[in-house]
Amino acid sequence: MKEESTRKLLVSSSPHVGSNLTTEKIMLHVIIALSFCLIAGVVIFGVYSLLTVALCVASSVCGETLYNLIRKKPNTVKDLSAVVTGMILGLNLPPTVPFYVPIAGGLVAIMFVKMLFGGLGRNFANPAATGRVFLLLSWSTQMMEYIRPIDYASGAFSVKDFFVGFVDNAAYVTSATPLAEVKSAAGTGNVEVDLLDMFLGNIPGTIGEVCAVAIIAAAIYLIAFKIIDWKIPLTYFAGIALFSLIFYKNGWNFILPNLLGGGVLFAGVFMLTDYATSPNTRAGTIIFALGAALLTILIRRYGGMNEGASFAILLMNLLVPLIDKACKPRPFGYRKPPKVKKDKKEAAL
């Protein structure tokens, strides 16, 4: 048994077995789910969308590498979280933004929002949502420039349409997203949008947000693989429906336009569920999603903008530590400490 006694064994604290799930696998699942939306976006808006998202991913990954180089830290890009951030931000951009917009957005999202606050899991605000808001404020015109989807059906379709963005895109630009209609119809209560087009993504909007079918497929994928908690998106969507009813005249007419328009579906599935910036408590999750829904509807109904999902997420992100503190769970079998001790202390005094 001499051989046995010299063998080196691994000694560690229990447990000695674990699940196969790793950070990289989680991120890979999210990337797969996001690519559903990306594929839909490319089909709807052409290949320039692919370039936009690719630039965003590249600048995010480079941003993280650069930060780690400057701080002389081991590079963390292989956990794939920068790719996820880049993809989410890219899919949040209009299809024809100039190339420098995704580059700047990715760098800001990763370096300032994520890495400066400690990297993976430590950022207090959603990097992609913050990146989008930063870009909205910096390049308002370009960030509001939505083109209409490629019209495959009509006789006027040409291959050139597929490369809009690379060529002159002035002819394709349209300003009216369905949310603009939702906003202007809020007073009358009669909203005129094509719900089927909104469901399929045949509307102007950002690359990833328009196609509800793709987002729902992605959500099912993520829930099936237990990557996201179904309670967050479902509570958020239920909240959107509820607050549409409350805050709009003829609220019934606004439930589906509000759900399908803008970034609600995309944000509910991919951005509210961000691990680092959503609550870690069960009750907190519900409060968080409902709060985001309320803010989204308030901004859309009474705010200056048509869209409110990104701002709602950011505002709720800031409340997460407070929400978690308030919702801290009691351990199993918790009973309030008896007051006897206090009496004893008083008696001693």
């Binding site: 048994m1 046995e4 006694s5 604290s13 229990s14 447990p15 077995v17 079998g333």
Partner: protein, 430 residues
């Protein structure tokens, strides 16, 4: 709906490795090394000298206090030395070395016929019976509870992966297990016994139901197969929906929990008069050529057991106990104790990665915690030395079941952090 508790996990069971191997007796080598600490509480005081002849069942270590347990020689022969040897926990403690004379002559206690309550408790104490599930808390202390006992709960869940001894015991010797259960119920003065067995042991459930046909007080319950179903508090909740108060004991709600092997040991001690010097042990893992359920005498070094069953390939980790809560060994030098429920030799692909990465804040740990804690908070705070803040997340309530670390995608040592928090809070009296 099957009875269970809230949260928890479904680890890979790996019971198929050894579940179909009938219990066999492990042969004893030339020497055994009997540790004097085989239980929770004070070490036993040695009461033999070098050169003394002993039989299997001769008292060699006397319980040093109320919470302590007698230690017996597992074989007949001669005490050849008293040495300091490393135990499973990695500490050097006194061991009594006994040379085997190959006779296996026995020294038994007087079998009890129709014993009284006091006699059974006295016998458990005399025979050195401890919790055989692995916790090794002296059984007589549990039986002498001052609380009113509503029911005795027998833990047959065996929720740890790999381990199959309780399953084999219920399958092969159900009548003896039931005899032990009845003795324990008599010792507690209760007529109600709840036996909880996980649903993955369907044939054991059937055998136990058959063996208790004529006993109205003994109820066999099927539990959902989920880890940690065998945790005392989780088991009580599954069977009765009552919650043991935070920081309290099962007896606070009127229940005493003991497991199948302990019931069997009580049967041996009372009916056969055999003191506790041997136990049932699962030896498994992909690196064991022939996984088995063994009847082993205490004092046999783990290395001999591994050699007996054959070590198949390169193993990287050896574990005494189950893979979720067991202790990883630095060598196979330690010997079998009353608490050695399993010996696992695990290969690289079976074990959890040990290199942690950054916490994602995914909250998986909190979502599976059967005690409803937030392990990621304790982990983050204790590593920043914020002991007071860490205490706010109730590390003292942690049962160290390992669910949190099992599911952690970042492979963080969450249980270790809880242990560190407990230790610091106790030491610094925060």
């Amino acid at each position: 709906m099957k009875l269970t508790f809230k949260h928890g996990i479904h680890p890979k069971e790996r019971k198929e490795l050894s579940a179909d191997s009938p219990i066999e007796t492990m042969p004893v080598g030339d020497k055994v090394y009997v540790p004097l600490t085989q239980h929770i509480g004070a070490p036993a005081e040695i009461c033999v000298a070098v050169g003394d002849p002993v039989k299997a069942g001769t008292l060699i270590g006397k319980a040093a206090s109320y919470v302590s347990a007698n230690v017996f020689s597992p074989i007949s022969g001669k005490v050849s030395a008293i040495v300091r040897r490393v135990n499973a926990a990695g500490r050097k403690i006194p061991h009594v070395v006994i040379d085997n004379d190959g006779e296996y002559a026995e020294e038994t206690l007087l079998p009890l016929t129709e014993p009284t309550r006091e006699q059974i408790i006295a016998r458990c104490k005399e025979a050195g019976i401890v919790g055989m599930g692995g916790a090794t808390f002296p059984t007589h202390v549990k039986l002498e509870t001052k609380s009113d006992v509503k029911a005795l709960i027998i833990n047959g869940s065996e929720c740890e992966p790999y381990i199959t001894t309780d399953y084999r015991l219920m399958l092969e010797r159900p009548e003896n297990v039931v005899a032990g259960i009845k003795l324990l119920a008599a010792a507690l003065g209760t007529d109600t016994v709840l036996v909880g067995i996980e649903g993955n042991k369907r044939d054991a459930i059937d055998r136990m139901i058959y063996a208790t046909e004529n006993d109205e007080g003994i109820l066999i319950h099927e539990l959902k197969t989920k880890y940690p179903q065998g945790g005392e508090k989780q088991l009580i909740y599954a069977l009765t929906k009552e919650k043991v108060p935070n920081g309290g004991l099962p007896s606070d709600v009127g229940y005493i929990v003991l497991n199948i092997s302990t019931a069997y040991a009580v049967y041996e001690a009372c009916v056969l008069g055999k003191p506790c010097y041997a136990r049932f042990m699962t030896v498994s893992g992909e690196a064991i050529a022939r996984p088995a359920n063994l009847y082993v005498r205490t004092g046999i070094p783990f290395s001999e057991i591994a050699e007996y069953l054959g070590v198949r390939e390169e193993y990287v980790k050896a574990v005494s106990g189950g893979p979720m809560m067991g202790i990883s060994l630095a060598s196979l030098e330690p010997a079998v104790t009353k608490g050695s429920s399993a010996l696992l030799l695990l290969t690289e692909r079976e074990i959890r990665a040990v290199k942690p990465t950054a916490c994602l804040n995914c909250a998986r740990c909190a979502s599976v915690c059967p005690m409803n804690l937030m392990p990621m908070m304790t982990d983050a705070l204790i590593l920043q030395d914020k002991i007071k803040d860490a205490k706010e997340y109730y590390p003292m309530s942690c049962i160290e079941c390992g669910c949190c670390a099992y599911v952690c995608p970042a492979k963080r040592p969450l249980v270790q952090s809880q242990r560190l928090a407990k230790k610091l809070i106790r030491e610094l009296k925060i």
